[in-house]
């Protein structure tokens, strides 16, 4: 799900070496430098902003709050971070990263030209750029204006983003903790629903529960009409809705966990079919299984319902520093991979309000799946084939 960007991130974003020690970043940087060498490159610029910072945070832990930021990786493996904000804000920015050389962007072109000069780049050098997806017109223009007189830029999103898909043991642990926070947020949301609270109150209850447990960010959405898709509540939306389709996403230590839940006081056939579909795809999830296979399997299980449009469009995706990480394509086929962490979802769409969506957070291992969280009412739905 794509979430409305916050005007300013306010949670706990300071780098915590107990959660992600410097060795974790050293391992990531070593992998990136190997990739750069394979592409014949020696330097890299990584872009991030407050809505799309996954690549930048992967290498530096820095999450931009006030505007874009750029990490400059030199051939000698030194790192400089250029951040938005005034020079008086640098001490606050330094708390967010292990990188020691943190400077205000100032004029981006001038800052990059200065970096090129300090790093003794030869003419006709080629520099990689990661984070192209979200870079806006002016920063991109400044980077090209700085580099192209001396060399060229190569976009490396496709080459480097797969690095993020295989989660390290520490990342798995963070995602487990994020999922535990999600579980409590969903329990709170369900309690609010059972109490007869309206759309806005149920989502607020979920968000507060997540923050109480240490989430950096928490967003909850809920149906504005019975059986409607989860949506942002407006200031005036607080009527009780049944069935309620809810969505919550929580971020812990930079990593997201997300889930869909359907609540109803009445018998809900669509929900039962969606649960059956979700259980089936979780049981099937293994390295090498394609998303197309999972979609076909879910479609079988939700019959006679149609797949809900939100899940027909995307049965699942890798999740981590971004809510939706890019799929890994093997021979143009999108597949699950070993040690990937995925949000998998299944929805059933019937007539009128007879709709449901449920989901799960899973860790795909070689021969089993670890379920970090699921909206299934009972683990029995899964146990028949799980070892």
């Amino acid at each position: 799900m794509r979430l409305k960007p916050a005007a300013l991130l306010t949670g706990r974003y300071d780098w915590d070496p107990d959660v992600l020690p410097i060795s974790e970043f050293q391992n990531r940087l070593a992998a990136v430098h190997r990739m750069l060498a394979e592409h014949g490159l020696s330097a890299l610029i990584v872009h991030g902003n407050s809505t799309d910072y996954a690549a930048l945070a992967y290498l530096t832990e820095f999450v931009p709050k006030l505007g874009p930021a750029f990490a400059l990786f030199s051939p000698d493996h030194s790192v400089r971070l250029l951040v938005s904000g005034s020079p008086a804000m640098i001490s606050a920015a330094k708390r967010l990263t292990w990188v020691e050389d943190v400077q205000p962007i100032g004029d981006l072109k001038t800052s990059i030209v200065a970096w090129l000069g300090e790093s003794n780049f030869r003419s006709n050098t080629t520099i990689g750029l990661w984070g192209l997806g979200a870079i806006t017109v002016r920063p991109y223009g400044a980077i090209t204006a700085a580099i192209e007189p001396r060399g060229e830029i190569v976009g490396l999103d496709a080459a480097l983003e797969p690095l993020r898909l295989r989660k390290s043991a520490r990342e798995q642990e963070i995602l487990r903790r994020a999922s535990a926070i999600l579980a409590e947020a969903m329990r709170e949301l369900a309690r609010a629903f059972e109490s007869g609270d309206g759309m806005r109150s149920t989502t607020l209850a979920a968000e507060r529960a997540a923050f109480r447990l240490g989430a950096q960010d928490a967003r909850a959405l809920a149906s504005a009409r019975p059986g409607g898709p989860p949506a942002l509540p407006s200031a005036y939306d607080d009527c009780a809705v049944d069935p309620l389709l809810a969505y919550a996403a929580v971020r812990f230590a930079g990593y997201w966990a997300e889930g869909f839940l359907t609540l109803s006081r009445l018998h809900n056939s669509a929900l039962m079919q969606a649960q059956a579909g979700l259980a089936a795809i979780i049981r099937r999830a293994r390295p090498g299984v394609t998303f197309a296979e999972l979609t076909a399997l879910a479609e079988q299980h939700v019959r006679p319902y149609e797949m809900h449009p939100l899940t027909k469009q995307s049965i699942g995706n890798s999740i981590g520093l971004a809510l939706e990480e890019p799929h890994e394509a093997v021979a143009s086929v999108l597949t699950l991979r070993k040690d990937g962490v995925y949000a998998l979802r299944c929805g059933a769409a019937g007539q009128g309000s007879d709709n449901a969506i449920v989901s799960a957070m899973v860790h795909v291992q070689e021969s089993r799946v670890e379920v970090f969280w699921s909206a299934l009412p009972s683990a029995e739905l899964l146990t028949e084939t799980l070892p």
């Binding site: 300013l8 008086a88 870079i135 968000e207 200031a235």
Partner: protein, 381 residues
């Protein structure tokens, strides 16, 4: 002024400039102090990128992303046609296919805020050399609509309640970020859809910054820019709080900052320039001996417009000679570093009236004090 009047004014401006089609863009990052032409023309805040196509002939369509926003846009935006999609450029092409579209006279607004690749596709659309309409767009009607002014009042009331909450809950030992999260949850419970909340504390600050995990300490000066957004309209109050009994210099210098703020506010009326408000504030600091502190890095600007939509009159700064008009809403904040006291915040949102100015806040800035012996508040409980 209402949204219909605003659209009419823009269409007349398009006709005068020979523009047949305006393509206005929003990145979805709805900012406190940057203009957003899609919000300005539709009063709709998209989740992702959005485009508003306005034809001089009368038709219009709002294209929002992602596709999952379909239900929301259908229920909340009814002024013209709308579509929700994961690819706003494809939807734009489909909309314009087959239309004569005045292709020879396309203008754009705010395309530079979009991701570069999407912007490139729009710039290269139909091979036309689209004209930039950013400046002209806002000149055609810079004041807020009646709804926006009402929303600014509600946002201001939420900000003031949030400050009361801050005074009730801040205490030594509480991390800044936990206080900020608590205030955000609280403003959301009061109806705010967002909040640009800068909050930081230190014994002697050089600037206000986004919150960190640093724990508030006795003797700190806590700075807060409380900026809730109600139904798309931001407001802002700026406040300073002493953690424990304030030092004499802190109280004296804060009183100076408040005097400077009122000197600026009292200057406001239709027809004067934004720079004159800035000069009125500067003069108070200069008279107190702080001439060299009336420039960066000791201050940045003396206020600014409040989005979403138009952020007229822009920054309250010495180089902004925009004429103030009735209906403009902006914040006046001296926000000044003073060597004896550190960085100090005081600021009020104001509306330019037919004859002068109305302060939107009910209880204006004075130095807040938190009992340094207080403890034990659990955020988000």
């Amino acid at each position: 002024m209402n949204l219909h009047d605003r659209i009419d004014a823009v269409r007349k401006g398009m006709a005068a400039e020979g523009v047949g089609l305006l393509i206005a863009a929003s990145s979805g990052l709805h900012s406190l102090d940057r203009p957003d032409p899609v919000c300005y023309l539709t009063d709709y805040r998209s989740i992702g990128e959005s485009l508003f196509l306005l034809f001089q002939s009368g038709a219009a369509i709002l294209i929002v992303s992602p596709a999952a926003d379909a239900d929301r846009v259908a229920s909340r935006y009814t002024a013209s046609a709308s579509v929700a999609t994961d690819d706003v450029f494809d939807a734009m092409q489909a909309t314009l296919a087959g239309r004569q579209a005045a292709a020879a006279s396309i203008a754009t607004a705010n395309i530079a805020s979009l991701p570069y690749r999407l912007a490139q596709r729009i710039f290269s659309f139909d091979g036309s050399a689209a004209r930039d309409f950013d400046d002209a767009l806002y000149c055609l009607g810079e004041c807020k609509t009646g709804d926006e002014i009402e929303h600014a009042r509600k946002a201001t009331a939420i900000a003031e309640k949030a400050f009361e909450r801050l005074l009730e809950t801040a205490h030594p030992g509480l991390p800044e970020c936990e206080l900020a999260v608590e205030l955000n949850c609280y403003t959301e419970s009061l109806g705010a859809e967002d909040n640009f909340l800068m909050l930081s504390a230190s014994p002697h600050a050089r600037a206000v910054t986004p919150s960190s995990a640093r724990r508030i300490e006795r003797g700190d000066v806590l700075l807060a820019e409380l900026s809730p957004n109600f139904e798309g309209q931001f407001s802002q109050i700026c406040r300073t709080v002493s953690i424990g009994t304030p030092r004499r210099e802190l109280q004296e210098k804060y009183d100076l900052a408040v005097r400077a703020m009122w000197a600026g506010i009292e200057k406001i009326r239709p027809g004067i320039r934004a720079s004159e408000v800035c000069h009125a504030i500067d003069r108070v600091f200069e008279a107190a001996g702080y001439v060299e502190y009336c420039r960066p890095p000791h201050m940045r600007r003396r206020g600014h417009g409040l989005g979403c939509g138009s952020v007229a009159p822009g920054d309250i700064a010495a180089d902004n000679h925009t004429l103030l008009e009735e209906g403009m809403v902006f914040v006046v904040h001296p926000n000044q570093y003073i060597p004896e006291a550190g960085y100090l915040l005081c600021g009020e949102p104001v509306r330019v009236t037919a004859t002068g100015v109305e302060t939107l806040s009910k209880r204006t800035a004075e130095l807040g004090v938190v009992d340094a012996r207080r403890s034990g508040f659990a955020p988000c409980a």
